[in-house]
């Protein structure tokens, strides 16, 4: 019995102190994808390869619009692999809860 008590006291408290303390994720974690708008050329490679079709490229007569909707994203990283200009990167962010679908969208608009 005293062995068990000694082990319990030695191991201490294991509960993670989230959300009081920030949680740091490891190096290879695949979090929210973010655009780098300066490098994007609107080529459409990422739109073709996305497995859940969350990337959308639209063209009207006055602008081109690239939209990513985080609602259906599976964080696979294929868009980052295929982009030849490194215009989309998977960051380490995971706190993405939102009350509306309107907020879970990121858009680049470019006038032609």
């Amino acid at each position: 019995m005293f062995d068990i008590l000694r082990m319990t006291i030695k191991s201490g408290v294991l509960t993670a102190k989230y959300p009081e303390k920030e949680d740091h994720v490891s190096e290879g974690f695949r979090g929210m994808p973010k655009f780098v708008p300066e490098k994007c050329t609107m080529c459409g490679d990422c739109v073709e390869i996305c497995p859940s079709s969350v990337l959308l490229l639209e063209k009207t007569e006055y602008e081109m619009r690239l939209t990513i909707s985080y609602c259906g994203c599976i964080f696979c990283g294929r868009c980052e692999e295929i982009c030849t200009h490194q215009a989309i990167k998977l960051t380490r962010e995971f706190e993405m809860a939102s009350k509306t679908r309107h907020d879970l969208v990121s858009i680049i608009r470019r006038k032609i």
Partner: protein, 162 residues
Amino acid sequence: MTIEDEIEVMGQRLHSRIRNIFGRSLNIREVDAGSCNGCEVEVVSLSNPIYDIERFGIHISASPRHADVLLVTGPVTWNMELALLKTYNATPSPKFVVAMGSCACNGGIFGSTYASCGGVDKILPVDVYIPGCPPRPQAVIFGLMVAMGKLEQKMLRTEVIE
């Protein structure tokens, strides 16, 4: 007072009443509407000693009739549509619905097909969306805190116009 002011005052009163009811403890019923079980593994790991949600007053219950929150995973398959509606009707008011995972948000990788509806918000009114495939336990805790009104959401719509 004009009618807009009155609506605003009523909205604030409703918001503070919601915080009073849901801000103390939550009873969650988890509903699997045809998921791949990745999100269920994360929900199960929320009850282990490392990510303990019981310290926030959140309890996972076994029946929708005891629940305040429905945590729905999976793109709702057509086979589970009736079961999900019956569960929603069996949950007493006040209640809210949390869509966990990419599939519950808009169908995810399965989308809207002959087999699945394409997201929970085609069937039920959703209050909080938690993206992720599967979302980390910390992300689920953050989403539940946003629903309880204890933390503010960080995501905002970003539009870059060039």
